[in-house]
Symmetry: C2
Subunit: 331 residues, 2 copies
Amino acid sequence: MATIKDVAARAGVSLGTASRVLSGSSQTSPESRSRVLAAAAELGYIANGPARSLRRSRTDVLGLLVSDIRNPFFSELAHAAEQEARHHGYTVLLANANEDAEQADAYLRTFAAQRIDGLLFSPQGTVSSHLAATLTSGLPLVFLNRTIEGVDAPLYGTDNAEGVGHALAWLRQRGHRDVAFIGGPDTISTGAERRAAYLAGREKHGISTDDRLLDAGDFLASGAAEAMCRVIDRGVRFTAVFGANGLTTFGAVRALRERLGAEQASRIEVVSFDDLDWFEFASPPISAVRNDASSIGRLGVRGLVDLLAGRAAPGQRIATSFVDRARGGIR
Amino acid sequence: MATIKDVAARAGVSLGTASRVLSGSSQTSPESRSRVLAAAAELGYIANGPARSLRRSRTDVLGLLVSDIRNPFFSELAHAAEQEARHHGYTVLLANANEDAEQADAYLRTFAAQRIDGLLFSPQGTVSSHLAATLTSGLPLVFLNRTIEGVDAPLYGTDNAEGVGHALAWLRQRGHRDVAFIGGPDTISTGAERRAAYLAGREKHGISTDDRLLDAGDFLASGAAEAMCRVIDRGVRFTAVFGANGLTTFGAVRALRERLGAEQASRIEVVSFDDLDWFEFASPPISAVRNDASSIGRLGVRGLVDLLAGRAAPGQRIATSFVDRARGGIR
DNA sequence: CTGTTAGCGCATTCAT
DNA sequence: ATGAATGCGCTAACAG
């Protein structure tokens, strides 16, 4: 593979001049400039990233650590973050913690070894020692959607209270009083916030405060299904279910159908925090709080880029919208 | 950040000894070994990846270029590849071409700059000049699920002919004669193969050979919906639809419901290449060829690792299974 | 088994 | 504006 030395030789200039042309830093004569560029093109020269990083002590790489790349919310977020980062001249190194603190730790180590310039992080909630070390090492950091209490870094994430508000208003409008709420782990900030907002708002919206209607899973389908089953097993009547994230809703719906049968299950209305493709096809169709993963990814990257440039990054709550798919009018 | 020099100084040994201990290459006395390890731990030493890569002229990074990370097939594949790579001591740099040849090109450049050790590639079909350059540069390469004709690299991918066979058998068993086939781009190998297998097998399975029932999209929901609409507009009767990949099926179902209404649409049975979470909830439930993304990702990485180690990698077709969700018996 | 040394490819400083 | 020289942090070759 051609090095900058080869390019310089071919262009008949010194290594320094070639470097200056190719990194576009300092002034160079149009003459040597064109010769270097031509030589580089002819040789198919592509700068050696590791060497460049070593010398400049920056990599132009951002780390993005998400909890579960198979969750559509995060894959959309990752995609948007990647696009935005490209736009600013950064490459994104994507890592998937698989909702597991140990793997998160391992990737944080990898990131540190790669000497990433900044970190976009959507944490699980548990703070390990490595994580603490990373967070205090001065690496520019931005939280995406989820945060860790006590850590001073800007958060770019959904406005959970507002989103839950939409769902509550919809539930009231649809005339539901007995609503099962399937939440997420309290250790994850979004889980805690959504639950808190629901608890705080349900009475005001005429929804039963019977806590037997409350349960929580792990923000994955399996845990949510189990939580749904527990609620069913308590024998309390409910006419609607509220799933606290997309996978939770999926798991809850699956449990409803398995335990009650499709017929019975179709008499229960479902509303979800996070909108999924197929909700329009469910019967009855599932209404949902739209959680704008793209904006979160994009704004998060912008925040981190600001941090990297020495500017302030205040963090931001991204507004949700609501997709009402209920058939007919008030029930 | 602590360097190996700091570690050596703290341990009271030379730089060389510290390096030997930390990279575990050569023999070292237990004495100095423990002192170096202790010093490294105390300083929180993490080796500088770029420096190490520069010196060793390898990065222990594999590039994974997928067509669309928001496609569940690829996010599962990426996840599996990542896990397997970790297991072999490699980090995966994931890039998303967004089904766009230009972006694919840009990422190939980035990969080259980062000096990745090997490439896992799921191509769009179009071969640009950069791509050609990459492919002939001698970079160890493995195709995942999709291939490019004429390029000599092992393919780890679905057995498309077998998968289509499952679907055909099911269609016949369900008594369908008039089947709409919504394919993918012929430029993508999976699109071409699945279409070819369908055309070759339909007659044998008692399925109409009326080509007005055939159309193709772009393997994305939007293009598939348009293709479905075109078939509907031709006014030929059909009792079943076969979608050539997951997103295609999604788009087709959406088009059916929009154009025919939920009532009419529910009289048409749908079968899909690729299984999606929600197919069990559709009405009628959608049966599907299960395309084992995890195995493909895992085996692909193993193949690339073999290549990197100088071993042979023959490539492999991964068998599919079929999920029959049809209600009741023969129609 | 260990210390010393060279050099990976590049950006940058110091002269000119 | 340019050439020569330096060193980023590390591994590997060499000498002992």
